[in-house]
């Protein structure tokens, strides 16, 4: 299978008055045709910056300092960020869905206008056929009475409905890839289930690739085929979902799994084992592994050597840790 998008050694820094924020520090990941991957990690670890960088949507004081983003065989980081080629990719061949639909929908434009705009720009449709297609898209994502509601404005839609509009917009130009950045964080769990099921069905049916960015381990377990775990600007573990959940090999991933309560656990059953301390400040990064201060597996080597690169620990399973944490210890 061919990778539809490949991010290679991407580095993005923010040059602020307090210092350089190493938001994304040599990150590589790929997504295959028709594949769903999950990018997980807690707040501030660089998930959004990595995908925004790939789309050249980073603004000053941020700067993409190195790396390649291969799409359709070309390094799209070489394209002019505001040029024709980049625009045809952004919102066209690669669509994005953001966390907060109210900020990504234009409040003064009708739902119809927001949907047809992309169709007219990217697919060269005329007004009438664009409107028909917009209604079709809206009903496809489960908005009842689409032909009527199409002329509403965003504020007339509920949070979940707006998120459906975002999905319709993302699908409108038949993208090869959708990047969904915390698409359901702001909605309730039953709405989240509705939206994720919808998205899952649609991308499977249309053979679209999907990158789900989230901090919810359950969401990636349910939908992603492969997972990348990020910590402090780097990918610290990657592999097929089942492998990562059954046999996590990085102390941070292991720590996360032990610290989350699971449905169905008895009161007073398993005691949660929290990860001590907190994530590092990305301005003052140590040369050693950034997880070291919180790690319970650390050895002398960890304190002396720089942050280790990802290494193979199984077929397609990689971890950025010196320590050999045995299977299911």
């Amino acid at each position: 299978m061919a990778a539809i998008l490949e991010i290679d050694n991407l580095t993005t820094n923010f040059y602020t008055e307090y210092g350089t924020v190493k938001a994304v520090d040599g990150v590589s990941y790929y997504v295959d045709e028709g594949e769903i991957i999950g990018l997980v990690g807690e707040s501030g670890c660089g998930k959004s910056v990595s995908v925004l960088s790939a789309m050249q949507l980073i603004q000053t004081p941020g700067k993409i300092d190195s790396g390649r983003v291969i799409f359709d065989g070309e390094d799209i980081l070489q394209y002019d960020s505001k040029g024709e080629k980049m625009r045809s990719i952004r919102g066209g061949k690669i669509a994005m869905i953001f966390q907060e639909p109210m900020t990504s929908l234009n409040p003064v434009l009708s739902i119809c206008r927001q949907l047809t705009e992309a169709l007219e720009i990217h697919l060269d449709m005329d007004i009438q056929s664009a409107r028909e297609r917009a209604i079709e898209l809206l009903s496809m994502v489960g908005v009842p009475e689409a032909a009527v509601r199409i002329d509403d404005f965003p504020h007339q839609f509920s949070g979940g409905m707006r998120q459906r509009v975002m999905i319709a917009m993302a699908l409108s130009c038949n993208p090869a890839l959708i990047i969904a950045d915390e698409p359901t964080t702001a909605v309730d769990v039953t709405t989240q289930a509705q939206l994720l099921e919808l998205m899952n069905d649609l991308v499977t049916r249309l053979n679209t690739s999907l990158i789900i960015v989230t901090h919810n381990l359950g969401v990636v377990a349910r939908y992603a085929q492969r997972i990348y775990v990020m910590y402090a600007g780097r990918i610290i573990e990657s592999g097929p979902s089942e492998e990562i959940f059954e046999n996590p090999r990085h102390p941070y991933t292991i720590g996360l799994m032990r610290s989350i309560p699971r449905l169905g656990e008895k009161r007073g059953g398993r005691k949660l084992i929290p990860i001590d301390g907190m994530p590092p400040d990305l301005i003052f990064m140590p040369p050693t592994c950034a997880f070291l201060p919180r790690c319970t597996y650390k050895t002398k080597q960890c304190q002396e050597e720089p942050w280790p690169a990802l290494r193979q620990v199984g077929e397609k399973h990689r971890t950025a840790c010196f320590v050999d944490i045995g299977e299911k210890e």
Binding site: E42, S43, P144, S158, G160, M161, D188, V189, T190, T191, Q192, A193, Q194, L196, E197, H215, N216, L217, G218, V219, A221, R222, Y223, S241, E242, F245, E246, G255, L256, M257, S259, I260, P261, R262, L263, G264, E265, K266, R267, K271, L272, I273, P274, I275, D276, M278, P279
Partner: protein, 327 residues
């Protein structure tokens, strides 16, 4: 849920909390937001009762009614056997000392200009619980109790991390040695890796101090972990209430079943074979809830009587309460 039992710290009966909707120049009363619409439950001494449900279902309003920050529209709330539903502020004040509250947002619930020490000492001052001399000692004790370094008392909130700020909020809630603590989404704003620290802290404090909790959250996995019993709310009403275990193993209300099935498990293998119930439509507005059972328009099992009759929350055995005509 009849007579107040001796071991019930809180007893809520037929509680309604309506917020009036006023429109136009004359602010005419045109309707009500039925935030809490006839709920009954109790909280036993030293237990944790979890309250789950989706945004807007009335969890916070229920908590605020118990704290008597709202005057209920109707129904009664008893605290340690005393009916507080219509008590005046002056009479309430000594009782309030026995209730603490922890809020969701550790950022906005603390005054940014106040030092951590003074935030924690506020309730002590209000209730005259300590002399000036004792104060520093007590603050220091509270800091240690929630796992903060007492040398940090002079810092202001933004100098603390999210998890630390929530600890300050917990210390403030515990300052007056309350018996009941209303925890309203105490961990929702925290990072995943920090949440367990706070859950464990709350559990340890409960053990050590013999606290009673009302634990409000929308994350059912968290609620189940910490609660003895769980009440599931939907659009102002309790749909089901039973022990944590029973709720997971034998959910009876169709809404509870859908809620459980909507939660993705951090286990890909289990997810592959799991049956999913995806609800139709959206939660109706609490200003205009459907007649009969509030859940019936989205319910697979609903029949014609469900949109007429309001199902009572009844005990089907062993303290398992369900409000559904089809069960």
């Amino acid at each position: 849920m009849s007579d107040a039992k001796n071991d019930h710290m809180v007893e809520v009966q037929n509680l309604k909390m309506y917020f009036p909707i006023n429109r136009g120049l004359l602010k005419r009363h045109v309707g009500d937001i039925k935030a809490v619409d006839d709920i009954s439950f109790f909280i036993k001494n030293k237990e944790t009762l979890g309250l789950v449900g989706e945004s807007g279902c009335g969890k916070t309003t229920t908590g605020r009614c118990i704290l008597r920050l709202y005057k209920p529209t109707s129904g009664t709330i008893s605290f340690s056997g005393t009916d507080i539903s219509h008590m005046r502020d002056k009479a309430l004040k000594p009782l309030r000392r026995n209730m603490g509250a922890i809020f969701q947002d550790p950022y906005s619930s603390l005054n940014p200009r106040q030092t951590a020490g003074s935030i924690i000492s506020d309730p002590l001052k209000i209730h005259n619980m300590a002399s000036k001399k004792e104060m520093d000692e007590m603050i220091s004790e509270l800091f240690k109790m929630v796992g903060l370094d007492p040398r940090m008392t002079d810092r202001v909130p933004h100098e603390f991390s999210g998890g630390q700020r929530q600890r300050i909020g917990i210390a403030r809630a515990l300052a007056c040695q309350p018996s009941l603590v209303i925890c309203d989404e105490p961990i929702s704003a925290l990072d995943v890796s920090i949440q367990a620290q706070i859950i464990n802290l709350l559990e340890e404090l409960q053990e050590g101090l013999g606290l009673t909790y009302l634990f409000i959250a929308h994350d059912l996995a968290v609620v189940q972990h910490i609660s003895d019993r769980v009440a599931v709310m939907y659009l102002g009403r309790i749909m089901e209430l039973t022990s944590s275990e029973e709720l997971y193993e034998n959910p009876l209300h169709p809404y509870t079943q859908a809620l459980l099935s909507a939660i993705p498990l951090p286990d890909p293998k289990a997810e592959k074979i799991r049956q999913r119930i995806v609800l139709k439509g959206e939660v109706p507005s609490p200003a205009n809830p459907p007649p009969g059972c509030h859940f019936h328009p989205r319910c697979e099992l609903a029949t014609s009587d469900c949109n007429v009759e309001i199902p009572p929350l009844r005990d089907i055995g062993g303290g398992h309460y369900v409000a559904c005509l089809r069960v």
